[in-house]
């Protein structure tokens, strides 16, 4: 099976090359036989990539250490689940996962469009096959997981301990599914540009793929934050690391596109902008991969520096040049069919929302690259860490939060004073009440106060929208509140699913602002010693060391400290943090020791404990621990979950009959506003 897999990789490469050639040739010559051949080539590529992946999984699960990849990322005593996930634990395996997902997506696109978008499809297939070709060539010639060592070591190096975590089983595949899904809208954009069919047709084809990408990126980024929180041990979940930033960039531009696409659908505007956003989102996904793999910028999550980064750099430049040429030569075809009428309109608010999202993306990209730029200008190295990103992005993020609330309240085309007054009164009162209450309770952090006030405003906006919708349904159909709410969402998934996403955004901001009240304590404790601390909510905590213990567990030697916890004098369980020294099957250490965080999750705050070191003699050890009270962190995960649920509702297929009714309701509302005015 391994040999079949190895050979399949090369056959897949040939298939992708063929698909690229006949895809574009079929489009330019209008020959149906070539187009049909491209379809078959894409299906075949998927099949052979699946075989190549099965081959690698077989090598990993059977610990065939004659392969450099298997020897580098697994050991005989590695639990099977991590042998399986080691597939994406290293450079070449993760590239194979990338092309596996890409070829799956390509197959789905070909199948789903077998009877539609026929003018676009040859170029869509050609573009997708070209991207597959690039990845397969990079794997085959730059970083081949089937590279043999020439000898068989007795055991492998093992998987990095920090990747031996359930989150790492889910985080990279989700992130990749998000990154790679941007290829499909990109392929449709290229096809639309080549054919000059830049109407709504290509947009309709890419909307669901853009949502899919956004959905998986949201899940992938949230899981990545969670992994960093529980595994890295520094007490936070987002450090503005270049690779974290790189995953966030396509999410931002993708989010901008999902808003601006509505403006083009309803008003025929922002056509150049939408093409630019689709192309940028794809290019930023490749840029993220380039950063992770080139070693140009130091990062927590980077793969080892290798020539693969330059392949990505080259591909990025080629893709930018080609798409810039296509957009530049099709500007006339991208003219808007309508124009903006008022600064106070839904479309204008989307424009400002886009400006902010892209502005934040630019600020993050700028900060990520600024060390290189500064060094080029000044000749000295600098560090651009969290203080820089927070200073620049927190104000922009708060503005974005405000727009999240403002946008849905403004009518399409032109909002009147009466409309604004009626729509904004409740939410503004809601925001002011939240801010006043928190001020009264003693909150003084200005950013947190602004964030919570805006959160109150946005949440009231969303509640108001749901209240109106449910009220309308109850009056029209006599439904009870719950079925009215359910049907309201079910009948207009885009709109109300979008509001649910906004609820997730609010929850995230509430959680982010909570970190302003984080409290940290460093303590050294011998067995039996206690430490007392007051948390941000005023509760008294006592931590009593039960001592340091050492033991063997699975594929590691563990040193652990156990603390008994009391909250306000009442027992609150135990908390344990570990240092793990992973060993191979012969007992030899494989990596430096890693940290296992002690965590007590709570809705109001997490108690987070890290064993930073152990001193003293056996039996008389002193544990050096750091204890953090992290307010509201759990709401980051809930916020991500709510956003994902909202995204799922938006994506969920809607029956044609219901679509019509949803459009009718959505359309009537602003018209109705005008009528009243």
């Amino acid at each position: 099976m391994i040999l079949i897999g190895e050979l399949s990789l090369w056959v897949a490469l040939l298939m992708a090359a063929w698909g690229t050639t006949v895809g574009f040739a079929g489009g330019f010559t209008k020959r149906a036989d070539l187009v049909a051949s491209a379809e078959r080539a894409l299906y075949a590529t998927f099949g052979f990539v699946v075989l190549a992946a099965i081959g690698l999984w077989t090598a990993l699960l059977t610990s065939d250490f004659s392969f450099e990849y298997v020897a580098s990322y697994t050991s005989a005593n590695l639990p099977s689940i991590y042998k399986f996930t080691a597939f994406w634990g290293g450079q070449s395996g993760s590239l194979l996962l990338w092309v596996l997902i890409l070829s799956l997506y390509s197959g789905i696109v070909v199948f789903a469009n077998r009877h539609k978008n026929r003018e676009l499809m040859p170029y869509v297939m050609g573009t997708l096959a070209a991207i597959e070709l690039f990845f397969l060539a990079t794997i085959a010639f730059g970083s081949n997981p089937y590279q043999r060592l020439g000898w068989v070591p007795p055991d492998g190096t093992g998987l990095n301990p920090q990747l031996q975590n359930p989150f790492m089983a889910a985080h990279p595949p989700n992130l990749y599914m998000g990154y790679i899904a941007t290829s499909v809208p990109f392929a449709f954009a290229v096809a639309a540009l080549i054919t000059r069919r830049l109407d709504k047709q290509w947009l309709a084809a890419v909307r669901r793929w853009s949502l899919l990408s956004w959905f998986f990126l949201t899940i992938g980024i949230t899981l990545g934050m969670w992994w960093a929180y529980v595994e890295l041990g520094w007490g936070g979940y987002w450090a503005w690391d270049p690779v974290e930033n790189a995953s966030f960039l396509p999410w931002l531009t993708g989010t901008a596109f999902l808003h601006s696409i509505m403006v083009q659908e309803k008003r025929g505007m922002l056509r150049k902008w939408n093409v630019t956003l689709v192309v940028s989102t794809f290019l930023l996904s490749i840029f993220g991969t380039f950063i992770t793999r080139s070693g140009v910028i130091s990062s927590v999550h980077a793969f080892a520096q290798s020539s693969v980064g330059y392949w990505f750099g080259g591909f990025l430049i080629l893709a930018i040049a080609l798409t810039a040429y296509l957009v530049g030569t099709r500007l006339k075809d991208l003219q808007a069919t309508a124009q903006l009428e008022s600064m106070v309109s839904r479309e204008a608010s989307f424009l400002f929302n886009n400006l902010l999202l892209v502005g934040i993306a630019f600020a993050i990209l700028w900060g990520t690259l600024f060390p290189i730029i500064s060094e080029a200008v000044k000749g000295t190295k600098i560090t651009v860490g969290p203080p820089f990103f927070n200073q620049v992005n927190v104000p922009l993020g708060l503005l974005l939060l405000a727009l999240t609330g403002i946008g849905p309240l403004i009518a399409w085309r032109r909002a009147s004073v009466a409309n604004i007054k009626r729509q904004f009164t409740g939410p503004i009162i809601g925001g002011i009440v939240v801010g006043a209450v928190l001020l009264g309770l003693g909150m003084r952090d200005p950013y947190a106060l602004i964030a919570y006030t805006l959160a109150g405003f946005v949440l009231t906006t969303i509640l108001q929208e749901f209240h109106k919708g449910v009220g309308a349904r109850r009056r029209m159909y006599g439904e009870n509140p719950f079925s009215a709410l359910f049907r309201l969402i079910a009948r207009n998934r885009r709109r109300y699913g979008g509001y649910i996403v906004h609820v997730g955004v609010v929850v995230l901001f509430v959680a982010f602002a909570g970190l302003a009240f984080k409290k940290t304590f460093d303590v050294t404790l011998k067995a039996g010693e206690s430490f007392e601390a007051t948390d941000p909510f005023g509760h008294q905590w006592r931590f009593t060391s039960q001592g340091v213990s050492s033991y063997q567990q699975l594929n590691r030697d563990v040193t652990a400290v156990l603390l008994e916890v009391h909250r306000d004098g009442k027992p609150a369980g135990f908390i344990k943090s570990e240092k793990r020294q992973h060993v191979d099957s012969r007992g030899f250490p494989t990596f430096n020791p890693s940290t296992e965080v002690g965590l007590k999750y709570g809705l109001r705050q997490d108690v987070y404990m890290v064993l930073a070191g152990v001193t003293g003699t056996p039996g008389n050890e002193t544990a050096e621990v750091r204890i953090d009270f992290n307010p509201l962190v759990v709401w980051v995960w809930y916020g991500g979950l709510i956003m994902a649920i909202g995204g799922l509702i938006v994506m969920w297929p809607q029956a044609e009959r219901r679509k019509v009714q949803a459009g009718y309701v959505a359309q009537l509302a602003p018209e109705h506003e005008k009528a009243i005015v």
Binding site: V300, S307, G314, L351, F352, G359, E624
Partner: protein, 229 residues
């Protein structure tokens, strides 16, 4: 080999490096612009003409020491003492303020963390505890936060700061995003002004196909009217 820095003013700073600069990890893992541009050109060629001669990627696990906290390669030899003679005025700040100060100083082990976070997280790092001891000695010596920051910058350069200083070229780092955003807002406003006269007649909104009877429309309209009132 000891290296002595002679500042033009202020107390004498002494820095000692256990390894020459060329052995610093950052030099190994960070690529010069020339190397980078050359390699991108190679990548372009590689993308255009795939060749079996392209070198294999360097696999991870080459024996480099990896930070437990950040999964990044560490180099303990990058520590350099930052020492100043005591002013004799006693500690300049409390432990909490000192911890806060350490959050502005970048650990030099090769990780991305500040000194405080690294030393309280990663017990495999020997650089952050050493830098912490220097901070403690300077605090005990009566130096203010700014003086301590200056001393670290003098020895390590500006890379020891967690964020670039807001002066000179680095100020553009802070201003550019806002300038770009301001430019974007100005562009949108300019476009609006240009567009508005063209559609001031208030032409109706492009309608979506609506499949509803007049009776249904009337019912919905009535419901929404009462909802808004």
């Amino acid at each position: 080999m000891p290296v002595t820095h002679s500042p033009t003013h202020g107390p004498q700073l002494t820095a000692q490096s256990s390894q020459p600069d060329e052995f610093c990890l950052m030099t190994d893992s960070t690529i010069s612009r020339r190397q980078f541009l050359g390699a991108v050109a190679t990548g372009l060629a590689a993308a255009a003409i795939p060749s079996a001669l392209i070198a294999q990627g360097v696999q991870q696990g080459s024996g480099q020491q990896i930070s437990a906290a950040t999964n990044m390669a560490m180099d303990d030899g990058r520590y350099r003492p930052v020492r100043l003679p005591s002013k004799g005025s006693g500690p300049s700040m409390a432990a909490k303020q000192r911890d806060e100060l350490e959050r502005h100083i970048h650990c030099q082990c090769g990780c991305t963390l500040d000194v405080y976070t690294c030393r309280t997280t990663d017990f495999t790092c020997s650089v952050s505890p050493a830098m912490h001891h220097d901070v403690m000695a300077l605090v005990d010596g009566g130096y203010s936060a700014q003086e301590i920051i200056n001393a670290f910058v003098h020895v390590y350069g500006e890379k020891v700061l967690m964020a670039p200083p807001k002066r000179g070229f680095d100020l553009t780092g802070y201003l550019t995003p806002f300038a770009a955003l301001g430019g974007g807002v100005a562009l949108v406003v300019a476009l609006l002004r240009k567009w508005r006269p063209a559609t001031a007649d208030g032409a109706p909104v492009a309608e979506l196909p609506v499949d509803a009877t007049p009776d249904e429309l009337a019912r919905l309209d009535a419901a929404m009217r009462s909802d808004d009132s």
